[in-house]
Every structure is written in C-alpha cells, then in structure tokens.
Point group: C7
Chain length 280, copies 7
C-alpha cells in the first residue's frame, strides 16, 4: 500500500471504532439506567432493605437525567481520544498537546473538584432517590420544602419563603421528614414541685382526647405514647409524649397537642415551671 | 520537497488549523450560550421543574458574559498549543518549556485553585440564574441586596449600608428571599398562664384585620394561616401566624402584624410572657 | 510464524490470562468474604477481644455485599487492562489513551475522593459489623434507629420520624447504644442547703423499689449503683444513680427512675434546687 | 556550517527571541494595566453595573503596582526558560535540572500555596478596587480603617488603635462601609406592655427633629424611615428606624438618634423594657 | 543459550530472589517487633523517660499484631513487583499495567488516605502503648472505658453504656485517666460574703477526716492538698482541694469529698454561694 | 581528545559554573537584602503608603537573617544539582536517584508543607517588619509582648507570664497595638432610666480632667472624644469615650478614665445600670 | 575488560561510594547536632535574642535524639538508592520497581503526612527547646505538666491526673508557664456602687502585706503592681493586681492574694458585686 493511503485507512478505522464504541457505551448506559428506572438497582447501591413502592415515574425521569449526563461524558471522552489519535496519524506531534492538557487538567482539577463533587453527589442522590419535589428536607445549609432536584444543586424553599440553592456536594447528611410516617414529639415543662405521676396521667388523657378529635384524628397513625419524665433540670421537669402521624403532618399534630395538654395541666392546677420560683 | 520548505508548510498548516478550530469552538460557544440566553438550558443543568418566566434580557446578558469568558479561554488554549507546535517545527526543543510550564502549573495550581473555584462557581450561578441585581439574598458571609453579579465576586449591600464583596467560590448555599413570593412568619410570645385557645382566636382576628387594611393589603397574596402553639418553654408559649406576601414585602408585613397582634392581645388582657414571673 | 498471526496469538493469550486471573481473584475474594461471613476475620481487622455471638446470618449477607463490590471492581480493572493490551497488540498507539485516562483520573480523582471514602468506610463498617438494622446509633450528623446499612450511605430514622441519609465517609465515630447492655444514668438536682447524706439514702431506697417493680424489673440487668454527689454548682447539688439495663431499654428505665426518685425526695422534704433561691 | 558555530547561532537566536518576547509581553501587560487604570476593565472582571466615578488616580497607581508584579514574573519565566535552553544547546544534560526543579517545585508548592493565594487575591482586589486607604472595612479577621493596601497584606487600624496585618488570601468577603452612602440603623427596645403605635409615633417625631438639627443634618442624605416593631421577645419590643447618611457618618448619626429617641420615649412615659419586670 | 531459556532462567531467578527477600524482611520485622514486645523500643519512638513496668504480655500481643500487618504488606509488595517483573520477562508490555496502576493508585489514594491514616495511627498507638483494654480514656470523639484496641478502630464504652467505634486516625490527643495515679479535684463554691480563711480550715479538716475513713482510705495515695481560693466571681468564691488516688478511683474519692466538705461547711454556717443574693 | 579526559573537563566545567553561579546568586541576595535593610523594599512588597521612620538597625539585622536563609537554600540547590550532574558525567545512571528523590520529595512534601509555610511566613513578616521585640501583639493563638522574632516561630509572653511559641505559618492576621499611637476606648454602662445628655456632659468633664492630670497627661496624645450612646440594650445604655495615647499606654489610660468617669457619674447621681431593676 | 567484570567493578564502586557517603553524612549530622547540644544553633533557627542559660545536658540529650533519627533516615535513603543501582547493574529492569515505589509512595504519602508532620514538628520543638520534662505547658489539646518529650508525641499530665498523649504535629502554639518567671494576675470584682479609689488603696495595701509574708514572700520576685479598674460591666467593677513570681508559683501566689485582698475589702466594707443588686 502507498504511504498516503495507510494513514487514511487508519483514520477511517479509528472513526468507525469510536462510533461503534460510543453506540455500545450508550446502549449499556441506557440499559443500566432503565433498570434503575424500573427499580432494579445494582446490588452495590441497593441498601439491605427495600424502600417501599415509591413513585416509579419519578424514578424513570431521574434515570433518564442521569443517563443523559453519562452519555454526554462518554461521547466527549470517546470522540476526544479518537480526535487525538487521528491527529497523531496525520503526523502531528501530539506530545505537547497531551502535556498541555495534563498541565491544564491538574491546574483546573484543583479548582474544579467542587464541581465534580456536586455532580457525583447529585448522581448518587438521584439513584438512591433520597428525596423528591415536595418533600420536607434538612440539607444542613438549608431546610424546607424541595422545589427542584438538579444534578448540581437542589432548590429548597424554607419556612419564610426564601429559596435556597444548595450545592449537592456540600450536603453531608440529608434529613427527609416526609417518608412513610412522622412522629410528633411533645415536650411539656412542668414545675419542679409538681406531682409527676398525676401530671403524666392528666397529660395522657388530654392527648388521647386530642388525637381522637377531628381534624387531628385523620393525621394520626398510631396511639399516643406517654414516655414520662424526659428531663429534670433545676427549674423544671419535662414530660414527653409522642404520636405517629402521616408524613408531613407531625408539626400540626405537635402544635395541637402542645396547646391541649398544656391547658389540661393548667386546669388541673399542676404547677407551671417558673411559678415555683417567685412563689410568694 | 526541500528540507526548508517542509517545516514552513507544516507551520502554515498548524496556523490554519488553529484559526479554523478557534472559529469552530467560538461558534459552538456562541450557539450554546445563545441557547442559554433564550432559556434553553442543556438538560444536565436544567432542574426537574422550570423556573417561571424570569427576565429574559437578563439571561441574554449573562449568556453573553459567560460566552465571552469561555471564548477567551478557548482562544488562549488553542493559540498557546499552536505556538508550541510551531516552535517544535522550527527545531526548538520544547521539552524544557513544557516541563517548566508543568512545574509552574502545579506550583501555581495549588494557590490558584481559589481563583478557579470562584470563576467556575460564578459561571454556574449565572447559567442557573440564581439571583439578579436587586434581589435580597443570603450568601452566608453576607446578606442584603445584590448590587452587582460578577464572574468572580458578587457585591451585596447589607441593611446598614455596608457593601460586601463576596467571592463566588466561598458561597455554599444561596438564599434568595425575592422569588415569586415571600412568607411573613410572626411569632408572638404569651405568658405561660394564658388561655391558649382564646389567645389564638384574638391573634387570628387581629391578623385578619391587618392584612385587609391598606397598605398592607397590596402586599399580601394569601390569607393568614394560624399555626397555633409553636413552642412551649419554661417562660412562655409562642404563637405562630404566617401569611404569603409579594416577594420582598414579607418583612414589612411581619412588622405590621407583630405590632397589631401584640396590641390586640394586650387589649384583651392575655398575660404577657414575663408578667407571670414577678406576679406579686 | 507470519506477522499477522503473532498478534492474534498474543491477543488470545491475553484474553485467556485475563479470564483466568479474574476467575482466580473472584475465588480469592469469595473465600475471604466467606471466611468473614463465618466469623473468621483476618487478624489485621480483628480487635484484641472477640465481640460476642452476634447474628451470623447478618454477617453472611454483609460478606456477600462486600464480596460483590470487590468482584465488580476486580473484573473492571482486569478486563480494562486486557482491553488496552489488546489495543496495543492491534498496533494502536495507546499512549494518548493512557495519558487521557491519567489526566481525567487525576482531575476526577480530586472530586471523587468523597465517593471513594464513602465506599471504603462502608466496606470496613460492614466487615467490622459496627451496627445493624434496628440498632440505635449516633453517627454524628444524625442519631436514631438504623433503617438500612448500605455501602455508600447509612439510613437512620431519628426520634421525630425524620429519615437521615448519612454518607459513610462523614462518620468519624459511631456510637451504638444497643450492644449487650445499656446504662441508665439518673441525675437528680437537689437544693444547695439539703442534707446530702439523707438525700442519697432516700434516693437509693426509692430507686431500689423502682427497679424491682414490674415492668421496669424485666429491663434491669444489675442492681442500682448510687454514685453520690456528682456535681456541685452554685445553685444545686446533683446526685447520680446508675443501673445496667437490657440494650435499648436504658431510656425507659431512666425516665421511670427520674420520676420516682424525684417524688421520693419531694415527699421526704429534701429541698428542691431553686427553692433556696427566693427563700422568703 | 561547522559544529562549533551551530550551537552559537542557536544560542544567539534564543537570547534574541527571549528579549523580544519579554518586550512584547511587557508591552501587553502595560497596555492591559493602563486600560485598567483608565477604567477600562476586561469584560470578565467587569461586574454587571459600573461602580460610579471613583478616584481615577488611585486606579492608575494600582494598575502600575499590578503591572510591575506581572512584568517581574514574566521576565523571570522567559529568561529562566531561555537560560535552560541555552544550557541544553551547550550540551549540558538538562534533565536532572528540570527534575530537581520539579521535585523542589512540588515540595515547595504545597507550602507556598498560601503565598500564591495572597498575591492572587491581592491582584484581584486591586483590579476590582474593593477598597482604598481611609475606607472603613471589615475583613473578617480584623475591622477598621485601611492604612495600606498591599499585594500580599492589607493593613487596617481598628477602633482601639491596634494595627492589623491581614493576609489577602485569608479574606473571603470584604465589607466596605464607606461606599456612596451608609445607613444608620437605630434599634430601641421598649417594654412589653408599652403602646407600640404611640411609641412609633413619638420615636419618629424625635428622629425627624434630630436629623434636621445641625451638625447631624449635614451627614444625613435621606429622610428617616420608621420600620416599626422589628423584634418581639419575651422581655421587650424592639423598634427600628433607619436613615441614609453620608459614607462613614452612619455611626455618629446612629449614636445621636439613639440618645434622642430614647429620651423622647422616656419623656413621653413609654415603658422601658425591663420596668415591666419588677413592676411593683 | 537459546532465546527460550534465558527468560526462563530470569524468571526463576526473580522468583527465588523474591522468596528470599520476603523471608529476610519477615525475619527483620519479627526481630524488630519481638524487641518491641520485650520492651526494647527503637530510640526514635522511645520518649525521654521510660514508662514504668507495664503489662509485658500485652506488649507481646501488640507486637505480634503489628508484625502481622507489616508482614502482610511486605509480602504483597514483594510478590506484586516480582509478578510484574515476570510478566515483563514473558515479553508482555507492562507499561500500560503500570500506568493503569498509577492512575488507579492516585485516584484511590485521595479517598483512601483516611484508611492509611487510621492504620498508621493504630500502629504507633500500639507501639507506644498509649492505652489498653479496661483503661478509662478520652479520645475526643468519645470518652469511656476501652473495650477493644484495633489497628483501624478503638472501641470505647461510655458512661451510659453506648459503645463507640472511633477511627484511630481521627484521634489527635489521647487522655488516659488510669495511669499510675489519679487526682481528685474538689471545687466547693462558697458565698461571696463568707470568711475565706475559716472556710479553708473547715474544708481541710473535713477532707482529712474523709480520706482516713474506709473505704475511701484504700483509694487514696497521698494527703489532701488544700489549694485555697481558686476562683472569685461576682457570685461565689470557689475553694479547691486535691488528693492523689489510685488510678481510676479519683471520681469516687471526689464524690465522697464533695459531699463531706460541703456538709461540714453547712454545719459550720459558712454562707452558701447564692444565699448572699436574696438575702432579705 | 581521549574519552577519559572529556568527562573530566566536563566535570571541572560544571564545578566552575556552579561556584560562579553560587557567588552570583549570593551577591544578588546580599544586594537585595541590603536594600531591604536600608528601607528600599521592592515595589511588590512595598505597601501604598510608607511606614514612618522605624528602627533601621532592626531592619538591617532582619535583612541579614533572611539573606542568610536564602543563601543557604541557594547553596544547597546549586551544589546539589552540580553533584548530580557530576555523577551523570561519571557514567552513573542518575534516573533512579532522581526518581527516588521525587518519591521522597512528594511523600515528605505533604508532611513538610507546614514547615515551608512557617519559614515563608516568617520571611515575609520580617521583610514587612510587622512587629519587633517588645511590641504588644495579637497573633490569634496567643497575645502579649513579643520576646523573640524567629523565621519559624515567634515567641510571645502573655499577661500571666506564659511564654507562647507560635508557628509563623499559623498566623493569619497580626494585630500590633504599639504602632505610632493607641486609642483608649472607655465604655461606661449607665441605667436605662438615666438622663443621657447630662451623663454625657458629666462623663466628658471628668474625662477631660483626668487626661490633664499627671501621670496620665504624659501618655495622652490628643483630646478626649465623646462619642455618646454607643449601645442601647434592655438593661443599660453604654456611653463611649475615646482618647489617643502614646503606643502601649492605652490600657493604663483606659483604666484611669474608667475609674474617674464612673465615680463622677456616681457623684452626680446618674442611675447605675442595674439599679433601675430592683428599684423599690 | 570482560563483560562479566565491568558490572562487578561498578557494583563494588557503588557500595564503596555509598558507605563513604553514609559515613560523611553521619559525621555531618553528628557535628551539627553536637553544635546544637553545646548551644550553637544555626542562625536560621536562632531567634533574635538568646534564651538564657538553660539546662545544657538536656540540650545534649535532645541533640543526640534528633541526630539518631536523622542518621537512620540518611542510612535508609543512601543504602536504598545503592541497592537499586546495584540491581540495575545486575541487568534487572528497575523501571517497574521505581514505578511501584512511586505509586505506593504517593498513595501512602497522603495518609502518612500526619506522621511526617509529627516527626518534623518534634524535631524542631526539640531543636528550639520549647519545653522540657516538668514544665507546665498548654499544648491546645491538653494542658498540664510535661511527662515525656518524644519525637512523635509529647506526654502531659493534667490537673486531674489524666495523662495526655499529644501528637506533636497537632500543636500550633505552645504555652510554657515555667520560663524565667510567672505573673500572678488577681482580678477582684467589687460592687458597682463601691468607691473605686478607696477599694484600690485597700486592695493594694492588703496585697503588699501578703507578698511580704512567708511563705509567699519566697515565691515573689517583684513588687505588687496595682493596675486599677480593669473592667466595668453592668454588675461589677473588676480591680486587677499583678505580681511577678518564680516560675510555676504564680498560681499559689494568685490564690493567696485573692483570699487576702477579698477579705480586706470585706473588712473595709467595700460593697460586694451582687449586693448592689437586691439592695433592699
């Protein structure tokens, strides 16, 4: 063969292989993410216990988002390497190009690590389906209702209406308050001199009445659990009651219980925490 | 061909390819950023839900700023590599130059990572349109009204008129209080001995009157929501009301509600928090 | 041999060696993790004292999870290197591919270190069997009952029903409150002017009665230990009692003891902490 | 040509090219920094809105300082590489020199990154003209009046006369209180039982009188804005007034307003915050 | 020799050298760690003063644990390099394997540094014999009684029975309260108006009586040291006594002394700290 | 020439060049540091405004210390490279030596970065003359009088006589209280109900008398500046006076002013802060 | 020469050079550290002012410890490189060995940096003689009496007898309270209404009497310095006295002075801090 044709054939071969490889990798990614969408997580990511029948169309959409990112990255890598190989077949010295890329890669790599962290965290959060739009979450830097779930940032609106853009990479632990059920924890401080047993009895009775009353009754899943004297400080004894509620309703139930139990204790004459103090 | 001409032809070829490549990359960047300007984000960056009809000319301007930076970087990289290739074709040993660049690159890379972080954060903040001039934001290091949005720093003027230059790379979460709506959260502490149900009723009535009164009425979007006994400490019960307002007006509404509800409770003789304390 | 056949033979040899090596490594991993499952930890991981007869089927399952991850990684590495070797035998210049991989590896390595940390921490936590589903743990970022144990994240549900997804790599110390036994620590503040010896005597007597009463008696493993005057501040003396309980029952026992001891002291007329204060 | 002459010619060529390149780069830097001096910032650095007609001779001086540093660095790099190239043309093996430089570069690079950070931060702070000598700034580690602006450190004198040398690289956000205008924020706590509406009226009247009185009047730019009940705690209601002032005068105005409003409230018999407390 | 035999001989030589080297290194490690076991620390690790005659069988066991880890690492390294050398002698191009190992090594190195830190810290803690099973230690993240000492983690059970798994690499300082002796520090607050000299005298006398009484007397090693007025705040004067005790008994002694001294002061009519306050 | 002589000549040449280069670099350093000693800082280090006529012999000594360090480093580098070049000319394969140096360099580089940071910080602190022996400084980790200024550590003696060895690299901002002048800031809290204007008048008068009295008068540089009501809390109004003093005398002046102003206010019957509280 | 002999000669030469080099380096280290032992610090380490005639035998011992470590490291490096050179002369391909070492070096380097930091910090602390056995020091993580000074860790016993093992690399600033002299700082709070001048006079007189009384007199080096009104809060005025003492005796002197001055003020009827408060 002539020396002109050989590189040409090489180049064509490289391009063909690259296109094929890209097609193969894309199929692989598609199959993998489709599996994710239909709930089949690879065993490495799957926790020891399954997570209930969560919204599957959300999973499909997320699988599509992650697949789209992975396909873009794969295309970029495969065509980039093919391009460099073609250059080298054309007789261009690619060493300086690679060295430049290396220097720039390292120099930028330090600064871009936050970016990579954000995207990697985002991908895993999506795959693990930690939260969705409408969930009430605590992301550390911000807490509130999720407005958008992105690969780089998650958007959350807090109680005063402020919208928070939180970088996924800065989230070390996610607290999701709207999964399967919530617990309303009611802490009632009573005076140091009060009769604890009687206070517990009255508080329990009041709480039981409250959770059977509409509209609280619809939000409550289990019965009231009266834990007793949770805390004993120099100024007060704190009683604790808990009750299981529908997800996202624990705060409303807690507020209702707090008011009712407190008033029942007042009515029964149980000493309020600070009245033991200026007792004269 | 003579040995003098071959490098010449090579050099010309390199220059031509570099110019072409630069033109191509610039076009690509332009198209991409124009797309951004008209609201078409690549799917990787687009959150799961669209963000409303935000000011599109702001987007166009931002797309232009980001595009300008990317074009500068691309030009610098392409011409730099072409320059080194030309040097090598002229018979100059480029290994030491590359090695020097590598050493300097690594040595500076450590120190410059903050710079890269700042610019990368700035680019993504712009693309995601997290805030604009005039928005009231909380950037962690500073909170206030945005004065300027730059690629490296964002300038914010806080409540006491101090101008803060915040490096974009130090911002881990952005809180924007002026997006679509705000929520005025009013917390009213009342005495431990007070009648909670009556206090809630009075507070609600007062709040309703306030939000229907001009000029507060123009700022309010929804009705007052009376949450009830938010918190119960040894010294006081805290009642909470919320109301949705126009963006940026939540503080004025909160102040008006605080004063009015507090005075209504005083008038109705609901015990103030600390008066239960030196009761004699 | 012809020059066409030699690379072919080489390639076949490479593939055969790779398959064999993979089979060997998989067997090794299987044997190692099976050993783990049956309680035989390599001496490096085994602490100086054995950990009791914990649930062995949990161990088997964990060994399987870890083995599955290790096998995936081994397969990926061995086939990846074989693929590159085959490419080089086909006459393709693999230097740019390796260099690209290097640059990408370093650039991503910075950002992916959190991911690697998470998985490595997860593997060791599993091998060391630090906690299982249902244990009550404190992971620093969150505390509560373990819901799932994964290689990258652990899921914990806290007292108010919020589910926390904690990255394993962010956990520096794990506190497990449900291993073999718990200790209920009861701190009772009494007034500065009280008779300490008598207070200790009364508190001890009350505690003894409590731990012999059903249903507390079933939860208690040892006898009450009366430590005495734990703390002496300007406002109060704090007495401390402890009692060993069944794992996970220490909080219920503590609450019961707190209420009973406190009421016994009240009945006996031991001065309450703050009554020395507004004594008039 | 003889083998003795060829390296000689090469060396001469290298030196000539180095001198030319240095001249070119110096010119480039000069032109760039001169542009900066006359207010023409490259678009990457220019925030979205222009910053007013700041002192241009300060800009010129800063541009000169930055240009001087950049020229030194460029000279050092170009002559250094030329020196190594000359060595290699003289037949000296430069590999060990480069390797040594590499090792030293990396080893020192870790420790010197703070230095690089300081200088890079200093350069950008100068280019962006964040503050000048005499401005009142908050740099995080120290707050006070700027005494000197350097490329590595900024010197600030705080309120008690202590001079602080702050490394530019440690500053994550700069707060400049002397740009265009300041805002005097006056917070007045009044008793919980006080009549809020009347207190606001009296406070507003007193504030209006104060800002019209000399010498406060010269420092005030706008009218007093009465925000109302800013905060409501168990012990007091906090009223807030704000007024725009000339830059740097907000503290004097605030002090004058605080005293006057407070005395007006006293005169009018508005309850002081704690008097509701020992009310007898 | 034939070209087939030469590599064969080479391979045999490599294997033989590797086996020999491994045997040599293992012997070296054994001798070194045996030396450690018998108390002969290399001078670099030995602190300036010797540590007493601690349990030598514990040392022997620890030396064995560390030796086992070091031997595993040495075996892995020596056989790994021999394997690669053998591959290269078989005519396989080992450059890609090494390069892959390098990339993976760097990429994982970032994430695995915590692991390496944990093991290195564990090795040194063992060699320096900082604590053993049963010691009461403070590791920063957790404090309590050591349950297990491992190379990667240390297990500690705290006062409420919670078992803490602490990574050795996160421990910056270890506090061991059970070495040779403890000190019971007793701080007694007395009223501001009290006669300090008389209070010191009474406290000293009471403390002397306590430490001579059984069972406290067996725990006390030295005499009571009366330091005097340790602290003087607006509300109280704090007296301090110390006494040297047997290791681990300082807390029991402190509790006994606190109760006795406090009651002696009460009996003597020394003013209690807060009674000076509502003195009427 | 013979093949034996050529390397010899080469070696001689290398040694001669190294000696010359070292002499040159030493001269350069000497000239540079001498310039520093006589106050001529290179423009990069020189802040925008000159620093007054500080003790020049201190500068000379510092320049000598820094020069000595730089000369040592330069000698080490130049002779080290020359040594390696000589080795290579002797036919020794220097690649493994360089590679070993590289590995050790990187491995140690991570750990030694603190050391490099300390020395670099020390060099710059010396060049910038931030503080000298006898100055009262705040270094963050410690505050007090400087005892020694070293290249790696600075020694400071604090108010209780404790000597602090502070690593220069840990200092992010230096506060020097003894430069040119100090400011005594006197904050006097007065009762909420007091007449602010009269209190300001009396405090001013008392302060004026104090600063004119010997020995305070010698320490005071300017007149007393009465700022007014600095702070208004629920419990007290804080008046602030400032006066410029000789460096290091601000604390003595402050103490004298505090006592005198406070007694003048007492004499004039201005209500003390807490007396408004139990007013009966 | 035959091809068999040449490598043999080379190997012998390498071994001889290595032995010589090691001997040379050891001598160098010995001379350097001996110099340190006899107080001659290299100028880089020597602070600007000499440190008094500290215990020279301690220095000798420390110099020996440091020298021993440096000699071990030098031996390891020189013989290691010689070993690799010998391998290469034997015809073994050392590239994979070096590459493996490089990968392991980098991977371990990240994790071992703490170790290197600890040893480097220890070496410098020893050379600079910051503290010795028996000194009372504050190392940040722990404070107390130094028990052992090691190259990696320092052992300190705190006031309650707990032994702390502090890694030298975690110490950012060392506070040594037993160098040349201590200062007893006595802060006495007096009532807001008290006569400051008279209180200062009485306190001074009482302090003078105390420091002249045995056994305090032997511990005191200078006279009492009465600083005056150090602090003025809403509740009290704090008077401050200081007196220079022998090193390590400042706490005993402070305690004695606190008791005596306080009782003198009581005797003289100076109002105690809180008695102004419930004055009725």
């Amino acid at each position: 063969m002539s020396t002109v044709l050989t590189p040409l054939i090489n180049i064509v071969a490289i391009v063909v292989v690259a296109v094929l490889l890209r097609w193969l990798v894309h199929r692989l990614i598609s199959r993998m993410t489709t599996g994710l969408g239909s709930g089949r997580l690879p065993s490495i990511l799957r926790p020891s216990r399954a997570g209930g029948s969560a919204a599957s169309e959300r999973r499909v959409q997320r699988a599509r988002t992650v697949g789209s990112l992975l396909r873009s990255v794969a295309t970029f890598l495969i065509y980039g390497i093919a391009f460099i190989l073609v250059l080298s077949k054309l007789g261009i010295n690619i060493a300086p190009i690679l060295a430049s890329a290396g220097v720039v890669g390292v120099a930028v790599g330090f600064g871009a690590q936050n970016l990579v962290k954000d995207f990697l965290s985002g991908i895993f959060m999506m795959l693990e389906d930690q939260y969705g739009v409408g969930d009430v979450v605590d992301l550390g830097d911000a807490a509130g209702t999720v407005e958008m779930v992105g690969l780089r940032i998650t958007t959350v609106r807090d109680v005063s209406g402020t919208v928070w853009y939180v970088r996924n990479g800065t989230i070390s632990a996610v607290g999701n308050s709207t999964q399967r059920f919530g617990v309303a924890v009611v802490d009632i401080p009573i005076g140091y001199g009060a009769d604890v047993d009687r206070a517990i009895e009255i508080a329990g009775q009041a709480a039981h009445e409250t959770v059977e009353r509409s509209p609280i009754a619809e939000d409550v899943l289990g019965d009231v659990e009266i834990l007793g004297a949770q805390d004993l400080t120099q100024a007060a004894i704190t009683l604790r009651l808990t009750v299981t509620t529908r997800p996202g309703r624990q705060w409303a139930v807690r507020r209702a219980l707090t008011a009712d139990v407190k008033m029942a204790l007042d009515t029964a004459g149980i000493a309020a925490p600070l009245t033991a103090y200026p007792s004269n």
